[in-house]
């Protein structure tokens, strides 16, 4: 997989981030060099608090890096990066709008006509399986349904790059697989670039073209696994794929040392 320099979409160069908290300075991420190519699906895995979300926040331009640079299409990210769509752990739906109203927000911002908007929204509602809940407010939905509404909203505004922070965490296995398949298909068809944080090692391999493994805090890149599964892989059949199982096993071994830490923690308690 040799791609040219010009295919670089997001580049972290010597990236480091320190947050000042009440308890003092907190080094979330350090010395990160990572390049994400156009159209690539990259998953980020690592122990909690290793700065994966920090990386996404910086790519979205929510804050500047403490050290190093974040480049998007070769230019430093300054301020909100309008080429990315962000889906966080919490859904951040607008509580005063129903499902349809929430999905319509980005379309309203774009100034799309009423008729077209209604069509787009109902298409997206069907895509994420929220038919029958169009008029429900977020407070009336389950956690999984809120996630799906947030995903529909993200797809509605059709950004070049999707930054996703454990978007499918709260979903049941079936729905999760359904959405994973949808996401991969959509991204491939539309040429989206995806940076996807997950704690689920199977998900990390199943979705990715490359998987980036992080160390614990302060997080830095430990290994990058090239996932040499076919681009049009069948997610339903992956369980029986030999290469897939090798890769998940490798990923498991890479993260095992930090799992030993947890064991020690449990013993200490």
């Amino acid at each position: 997989m040799s791609l040219m320099e010009s295919d670089e979409l997001i580049a972290f160069k010597g990236f480091g981030k320190t947050f000042s908290t009440k308890a003092g300075a907190l080094r979330a991420a350090t010395d990160i060099d990572l390049t994400i190519r156009r159209g690539e699906f990259v998953t980020l895995v690592g122990p909690s608090g290793c700065g994966k979300s920090t990386l996404l926040n910086a790519a979205a331009g929510l804050f500047p890096p403490t050290d190093g640079q974040v480049l998007y299409r070769g230019k430093p990210v300054t301020g909100y990066n309008l080429s990315v769509g962000y889906m966080t752990q919490s859904d951040h739906l607008l509580p005063w709008r129903d499902v349809v109203g929430n999905i319509a927000v980005p379309l309203e911002i774009k100034g799309i006509g009423r008729r077209e908007m209604a069509d787009r929204v109902s298409e997206l509602v069907t895509l994420v399986g929220l038919q029958g809940f169009e008029k429900s407010y977020p407070a009336q939905l389950s956690g999984g349904m809120r996630k799906r509404a947030a995903l529909a909203r993200l797809l509605a505004y059709d950004p070049d790059t999707l930054l996703m922070d454990e978007p499918f965490g709260a979903l049941d296995a079936q729905l999760r697989l359904g959405l994973q398949i949808q996401l991969r298909k959509l991204c491939q068809r539309l040429g989206k670039t995806v940076v996807f944080v997950t704690h689920d090692l199977d998900e990390a391999i199943a979705l990715a073209d490359r998987t980036v493994v992080f160390t614990g805090r302060p997080g830095t890149v430990k290994r990058i696994l090239a996932v040499d599964l076919p681009r049009d892989r069948n997610l339903m059949q992956l369980r029986h794929d030999r290469r897939y199982n090798e890769l998940t096993a490798e990923l498991w071994d890479l993260l095992a040392p930090s799992i030993q830490d947890i064991e020690q923690l449990v013993k200490a308690v």
Binding site: Y80, L82, I109, A139
Partner: protein, 255 residues
Amino acid sequence: MRIWLVRLALLAVFLGAWQITSGWLFSAFFISSPSAVATIFWKWLVSGRLFYHAGITVVEAFSGFVLGGVAGMAVGIGLGRSRTLADILDPFIMIFYSLPKIALAPLFVLWFGIGIDMKIILTATVVFFLVFLNTFTGVRNVSRELIAILRLMGASDRQVLTKVILPSAVAWVFAGLRLSVPYALIGAIVGELIAANQGLGYLLSDASGQFNTAGVFAALLAIVLLAMTLNLIVRILEKLAMPWLQEQDQREFSI
């Protein structure tokens, strides 16, 4: 349903005790009696006197409420959006806030005379601060994450304002408005007590001046009824403006 029966029973006991003790345990001159109050109230009602004076008070309280409310919202949103301006003005706002607005009444009499406009301005001043501070707090408490999410969608300042800031401040605005209803009446009635020849406050002080205790109670009753009506209107508006909160109430409880 049951709770209403208990409430009615309580009211009946209270009115009964009042009626019986009046003229026996306490002097009827001071406490009057429910029947005497009802008689006067009825007399005022049929003669149109009540509606005339209540109408004046309603106009004062309502105009002051709307004027103060709108100004409070506008300034609250403005200052809520501009941190520097809010920081500069903070001590001045606190000075005015700690001043009992009613104490401005004599000054307003000097400036605006004893007509209806003086009561409207007094009421508006009282309402303004309550609505302003609530709106300001509401705008300040808008989730920054929600704003960031919309910014990433390419929302302009205006869109962030109309789609995130205003709707999320609505709950606070209504809290301020609800709080303001009794204060709007206080403003109007105190204005009338100080200097007026019409309105429920005038009715009240006029009855008291003639040692007509039953009339005083009848005027108080009218004021209470008016306050309850205004409260009800604000509540209905609140439900209409924030349907999503209603849905939350109806939702089954789970953790």
